[in-house]
Structure formats: C-alpha cells, structure tokens
C-alpha cells in the first residue's frame, strides 16, 4: 500500500509548526497581546 494512503495520515496535512502550533519555545511565557479598545454601545454604531 502506498505510504500516502496510510490510515494515520490526514487528507490535507497542516503545515508543520503553523498555524495551530505557533512554534513558541516552551520556556517563554506567552506575551500578552494588545487589547482592543472598548467600543461605545458594544461597537454597534453606524453613521
């Protein structure tokens, strides 16, 4: 049986390390990302 038909292999392999695994070294704590500004009326505003 050809290797690519093996039962363990997903049909569409994810690229190694991305995007599900960001590749961050384990010894570094995750850096907090900037928070979005709070929007008045929950952002449901129109002009």
């Amino acid at each position: 049986m050809p290797e690519h038909d093996g039962p363990d292999k997903p049909a569409h392999p994810e690229p190694p390390g991305r995007p599900d695994d960001p590749g961050r070294p384990d010894d570094k704590p995750p850096r907090p990302k900037p928070k979005p500004k709070p929007k008045p009326d929950k952002g449901r505003t129109y002009g």
Binding site: P19, K39, P40, Y46
Partner: protein, 570 residues
C-alpha cells in the same frame, strides 16, 4: 507630531511588535530605514506554507492603536479574490477569526492560515463566503475624469436596463464670471453678485449690458421684445452681432440690464439684473436670473450670521455625515473639510444626501458640489482617505499624509465625527485631546431606532470621549441611558470588507442629523459670540422608535473623563 504616534504611547511600542514576531517564530524584521526616514512601521519577511515561501510586508496604519489592524501585503501570493488588487490580503474572513487581528504577528499567522486553507481546504473558505458578494469583482477605479465602462456577461438571451448618472451635465446653471464696463469709461467690475441659470452646460457666454434708471416696464417675454425694439434697438443689434460672430451657431449672446430694485429689506434698494439670451436669428429667451447676496441667508437667521467664518471638519460623509454637512451649509457655515475614502453607490441613496446623478463619484466630491449649490460662497476641501488609514500613494507618505490631515482637522473650529468606523472615531478623539478643538461624535444604533450625540471638549472640566463612554458603560459609575436599538438587527455588506451598514429608514437618520447640527450650531455660536443657547450637556441620547411606538424622545447628561481611558490619559 511624534507624540501622537502609536509606538510612542504607553500601551504600544515597535519593540513589542518585534518581540511578538520573535515569540511566534516568524521571520519578519522591521524596515529600519523607512522607520527612520518616514516614521512608518513596516515589517518585511516571508509567509510560509511547508517548504514554500512568499514575500510579504506587514504595514501598520497610523491609527493602529485606535484599532485599525495591520495590512499584510503579499503581491505574489495566489489566494484568489482574497487578495486585493493592491496585494493586501483579506484577513477579516469569518473562518479566520471573529475579531480583527490585534498585532502584526497575529496578522501574519492569519495570512498563513488563509494560504493554507486556499491550498488545502478551499471549501471552508467558500462555505463561509457563500452569501458574501465578490469583494473585488465589482470594484472600479473611480476618478473624476474616468468614464464608466461596464463589462456585461455575454450569455445569450441575457438583457436588462442600465442606469447611468452623468453629473457633469446637470443642472442647468451658469455664473456671470466677468463684467467689463465700456461707457462712460472702460473698467473691469470684479465682484458680480449674480448667478444666472443660463445654459444646459458650462460653456461661457458673452454679450453686452447696460444700466437703466428704472426697472424694465414688463418682465414678460413679449413685452420685453417690444420694449427692446423700441428703446434699445442699437443694443439689441449688437447682441445679435455678438451671437453671429460666435463659432457655434447655436450659442446665443447675453444681453443684460442692471437696474435699481427694491429690497432686500423693505425701503432699501439694490441692483437687480435682467438677462436675455439673444440668438443670431433674433430669437430670444428670458432665463431666470438669481441675485445671490451674501446677506440673503442671514435675513432669515440673523442670530447665526457669525458662524459664516467658521470651519467644520466632517469625518465620514455617509448617510449621517452628508445630512449634517448639508444642514450646516444651509445654516451658513462658510468652510468645510470633508473626509471620506468611499464612493457613492446606488444603494446609498435611500439615506444619503446625494442622489443617482452622483453614483460612482467619491462621496466627498458629490457632497462638495452639493454644499456649493446650497451656498456658492462656502469653501469646501476634500480628503479622500480613511483617517489614520493606509490610503497614501507611497509607503513613505503614509504618516506624512495622516499628519497633514490631522493638522487640518485640529485647525478646524469643530470636528464632526460621523464615521461608522469606530477606529476613525478613536483617532479623532485622540487628535483632539489637549488641542482645544471640540469633537462632536454622532452615531445611530442598529436599525436607527436611536442615536447618540457626544461632545468631547477641553476645559477646566473636560468631557469624555468615545472610549470614556464605553468604559463607563462597562464598569458603571455614571448613568448612561440605554440606546434604543432594533432587537433583531440586520446588517448590509455592500462589497467585501467594506464597513457594514444597517437596515433602517433615512428619516430616522435625518432626525439624528438635525439633532447633531443643532448642537454644532450651539458650539459654533458660542465660539463666535452669537446669540444662541449654550450646550448644557455632554451626551444626548435620542430615541426615534420602539417596538410599539415611533415617537422622538431625548435624554441629556454629563460624561466625565474616565480615569482608565487610554485616549484622554494621553
């Protein structure tokens, strides 16, 4: 201007962005030379999918700290319509995440995710976009001088109608540009207070004129003809000769009479004009002249005369902003700065001040014409760009153009933020902090069931901004009336990643615009020392309708600065 850079603020820095790239293992580096020379932040590197790489730039907008996310531009990457003609990738696709990316590294991760889905799971993209229009397929590069070209499908049997609006041929109007006197002595008369509706295009027309001691006896066409032939036959012959000498045989000559007439106030006298169009075959028309005096507007609203010297900047020329600008022009505001990057579409007309003759034009261009028709003496400047955005023609010009726009905004007497884009509102608020330029924020809620007017002012007791309002709403401490809103709101997405609009009637917008203009007039009148009531609130909450009634209501209150506001804290 450097103090206003996002990377100079306490919350953000370029080093943070570099660290986020490093933490996520992405090979992107700051373009140091561009940063030093133009203060524009761009990271360059490669998007990666397995062993493949595609060069990309991450470009940060000036309003990054206001919530505008970085663009990822990858000119060589094939992701179909998910890449704009300028190379920017569409990262707001729902399958990529619910909210906009919040840093450059996250934007790159999304871009790589988009590439992966395009290559390996295109169905996921297609399912999500089944109801969305093609973001780029309907786009036309609009310019004032461009013709409209439509590529129609060639399937046999298909047919339909096309509506084309050509604004340059309407309306029928002309301006008397120049007046020379030949008798009793030659001289140029510079200012002519007259605008006359003359021809169906904007060709110049020439002719002769004469001052009379008294009005013509009969303004009707036939009476005028007999009077002309009896008393002014020599002048009539000269006008016919003028028309005969014109290379266009259809072009008439202009015959004008100026005479004393009563008005504009009872007992006063002013120069009135009678214009006649004389053709080379002796045919004659009486066009309808308009005497346009500077004082005409003030006779009906004398307490607002002082605001004619004021400058109002309107950020967002949409349904609300266009009506606000038009009402301010009618109120006599003499100077406008209109800021909007968008083009007017046919669907906009249900709520916008413009109409079908303006379809395909920039909203600022159509609105500028509209304001000049309402007040030919008002000065209107246009800026076709998104405040704090990336509309500059060159990367190196991004910050410089935004700085230029910021200085023009701060130079205005009042900034009206009527943009649906909340980041533009944050950027407005930030620009105005500490400058003394008041900002009037105006918006409506879902379905236009209600609206708010927020006045952001400096002074001994400054009022809060839009972020302050959001923080008071979240954490309490100040009573904020609820905004009436449609419990089942529907959004309309006109094209791709355009700001979504809402379903709701235009007349509710008109009520919100009228309330905003009343407040704007109060602020301008206070600055000018005019006789009009002062504004005794910071926040006005408007209700237009509810589920079982549609009666206007309003509640006013004060809005202090919130201690945690990142805008007001500098």
């Amino acid at each position: 201007m450097s103090r206003n850079r996002w990377w100079n603020s306490p919350q953000h820095s370029v080093e943070d962005e570099q660290a986020w790239f490093a933490d996520t293992g992405l090979d992107f580096a700051l373009d140091e030379e561009l940063f030093r020379s133009s203060e524009v932040v761009v990271f360059r590197g490669n998007l990666r999918l397995g062993e493949r790489a595609s060069p990309a730039s991450v470009i940060y907008p000036p309003a990054y700290d206001a919530g505008q996310h970085p663009l990822v531009v990858a000119p060589a990457l094939d992701v179909g319509r998910h890449r704009a003609p300028n190379g920017a990738l569409c990262l707001d696709h729902p399958v990529l995440g619910e909210t906009a990316p919040m840093c450059g590294a996250e934007a790159v991760e999304r871009a790589e995710r988009l590439w992966h889905l395009w290559e390996h799971d295109r169905a996921a993209l297609h399912e999500e976009e089944a109801d969305a229009p093609d973001p780029w397929g309907n786009y036309v590069e609009y310019a004032d001088e461009s013709a409209i070209l439509l590529a129609l499908p060639e399937a046999p049997g298909e047919r339909g109608y096309l509506d084309l609006g050509i604004s340059s041929l309407s309306p029928c109007r002309g301006s008397l540009l120049r007046l020379r006197q030949t008798h009793p002595e030659p001289r140029e008369i510079a200012a002519v207070p007259a605008v006359a509706e003359l021809l169906a295009d904007e060709r110049s027309i020439e002719g002769v004129w004469q001052r009379l001691d008294a009005p013509p006896p009969d303004p009707g066409l036939y009476g005028i003809q007999g009077w002309l032939q009896r008393e002014h036959s020599a002048l009539l012959k000269r006008a016919i000769d003028y028309a005969g000498a014109h290379p266009d045989p259809q072009m008439p000559a202009l015959l004008g009479f100026v005479f004393p007439d009563e008005g504009p106030e009872r007992g006063a006298s002013h120069d009135a004009w009678l214009f006649l169009l004389i053709r080379r075959d002796d045919g004659m028309e009486v066009p309808r002249p308009i005497d346009l005096h500077r004082e005409d507007a003030w006779l009906r609203q004398p307490n607002l005369a002082a605001i004619s010297s004021k400058t109002v900047a309107v950020v967002g020329a949409g349904a609300l902003g266009s009506q606000i600008a038009s009402l301010l022009a009618r109120a006599g505001v003499g100077h406008f700065l209109l800021v909007d990057p968008d083009v007017f579409t046919a669907g906009n007309r249900v709520r916008h001040e413009l109409d079908l003759t303006d379809v395909g034009r920039y909203k600022t261009a159509g609105l500028a014409d509209r304001l000049r028709r309402l007040n030919p003496r008002c000065e209107v400047r246009e800026r076709r760009q998104r405040l704090g955005g990336l509309d500059a023609p060159m990367l190196s010009a991004i910050q410089a153009e935004d700085d230029q726009l910021a200085s023009e905004l701060i130079g205005a007497d009042l900034i009206v933020n009527s943009s649906a884009d909340s980041t533009a509102g944050f950027h407005c608020a930030k620009l105005a902090c500490g400058t003394g330029t008041p900002v009037l924020h105006a918006w409506v809620g879902p379905g236009a069931w209600g609206g708010r007017i927020l006045i952001q002012r400096d002074g001994p007791q400054p009022s809060g901004c839009t972020e302050c309002l959001a923080r008071w709403q979240e954490g309490g401490g100040v009573e904020i009336p609820p905004l009436p809103e449609d419990p089942h709101p529907v959004e309309v997405l006109e094209a791709g990643c355009a700001d979504p609009s809402f379903t709701g009637p235009g007349f509710e917008l008109t009520a919100a615009a009228a309330a905003a203009v009343r407040v704007a007039a109060q602020l301008l009148a206070e600055q000018a020392g005019a006789d009009y009531p002062l504004v005794d609130f910071d926040l006005l909450t408007l209700g237009f309708r509810a589920a079982i009634h549609a009666q206007p209501e309003s509640r006013k209150g004060w809005l202090p600065v919130h201690p945690d506001c990142t805008i007001c804290s500098g």
